[in-house]
Amino acid sequence: MSERFYDDVATAEQPGEKTFLDSSELVLNMGPQHPSTHGVLRVILKLDGEKVIGSECVIGYLHRGVEKIAENRTYAQFAPYVDRMDYVAAVSNALGYCEAVEKLLNTEAPPRAQYIRVILTELNRLASHHVWLGTHALDIGALTPLFYTFRDREEILKIYEKYCGARLTTHAFRIGGCIYETYEGFEKEVRDYCDFLLPKIDEYEELLTTNRIWCERTKGVGILNGDDCKALGVTGPVLRASGVKWDLRKAKPYSGYDKFEFEIPTGKNGDTYDRYLVRIEEMRQSVKIIRQAVDGLPEGPIMAKIPKVLKPPVGEVYHSIEAPKGELGYFIVSDGSTQPYRVRVRPPSFVNLQALDKMIKGQLVADVVAVIGTLDIVLGEVDR
């Protein structure tokens, strides 16, 4: 939202005269129970009239001590827990963790497993972006996209349900590969879904891209330039919308991503509108990757030959993947026993949320809602 409205009010005053229109500093507590904070995020806003002059995030309401739990479980036992961090992108979390442990074991999933993983992970990126688009638009006042996106996300969840029996926290992968072979008709269903989704993405764009209210609410809001992004460690679509062409799938390919052709969409202005365009384009690119993966799905085993009891050799590894929100990394320390000595999760949402203060300074309160939506945070991952 432009600042014109605010400035008009301010200049309408007689200089030096106190009236009821005078603004003074106000501390406003937004959340933790607030529908547009996407969970239990509390933002303490310091306001001058409608204008944000400072903010502080209070987080931790959903802290479950995932990293502590990891130290008290075996490698395999901990795998389901990672699904519960970013619960709208559970498959991505699992991929990151399984690959990190595989790295520690100095092994790799077989090609077929890698392709299945890519298909499911990219479907998950679509699902995550569906949730983002629906809720983000809802926060800004557009009700319709929520119904459209959740309707289309449902089809992905159905594929998950058929594949592994669970819809949200799937635990679809195991260390060393996949445990389930694809079901009959999997490839056709995934292909059909790709055909089904592409026109739907155009439909979302029809609703929003040139919508005047949408543009007013998102253009020029929450600007973050590329250098700020790098300094703040911001990754994912937020970084790319600021003009930095960087995607871990290209920079450090994992799980066979180097075999697929796709573009890295970038923005120019680093505002909320560009982030919207980048994510929309990412959905199209995901469809492209899924189609390639389904077409090239190789035959063969889906599980690497790894021991039943996992005892990775003593050492430390860091492995990260491009989750829908940004760089999701796992730093695992093994002491040679069956339980990890330490698991550190590098959560993209947590790090990206740190940029909130910079993005909303000088903006209006209504923009805070838009910026929280555009950051695409999941509090389960922020707090872990």
């Binding site: 460690g233 930095v244 872990r384």
Partner: protein
Amino acid sequence: MADETKGPENPSPQPGDAKSASPAEVKPTVEGVGKTAVSVAQPGAPAATPAAAKPATPAGAAAPPKPAVPPKPAGPTPQPWTSPLGNEFKKNFGTGIEAWSYLGQNYFVVDKAVVMDLLRQMRDDGFDYCVDLTAVHYPKREQQFDIIWILYSYATNERVRVKTMIKEGERLPSSTSIWATTNWLERETYDMFGIEFEGHPDLKRILLPDGWKGHPLRKEYPITLQDQEWVKINLGIESGQ
């Protein structure tokens, strides 16, 4: 310097580790693990026990197929890592720095005294993205904490970790002036380990509530422990733990 202080529970590289992997036989994973690990009683599969008891004879390796199951049996060990970057740092910072590579991942083990200069130097050398900052607790070691920075360079697509060790109660200078992102990461490290960073703009707990006692990711902190006093005062209930 850093080497002598490493305790028995330390999974970081020891120069001696390289020896344990040198016999490139079928079994060395089992052996390699047994030598370097803290207390690995027996290898995973029960069938491996007789083979492990015997020295590596060709017959012993062939008879039980189970120990050969790990796909890449040559147990990986940290190797010295030489790079122009490391050589330059060694020239500048002298003995306080070692360069290692493990499974293709490179890292520096740096003395606490020079770590901030090194980090600043690395930022200026193009490592403009601090991916993560975290710690690991080794209660049995004299220098109880490993502090790890994971750095990335957008220009060269290179990822390097920097590790330093500090004693209980020792403080580190804050790296917030080098990368803004370490603000919350240092707060989390403080929250979870009680490690204080000097010069941090606002060092306080981030995930746990203010006033909580204890730092949960320390090894002596049991998994079910709650700050009962805090629960009683703030929630008005018994903690139930």
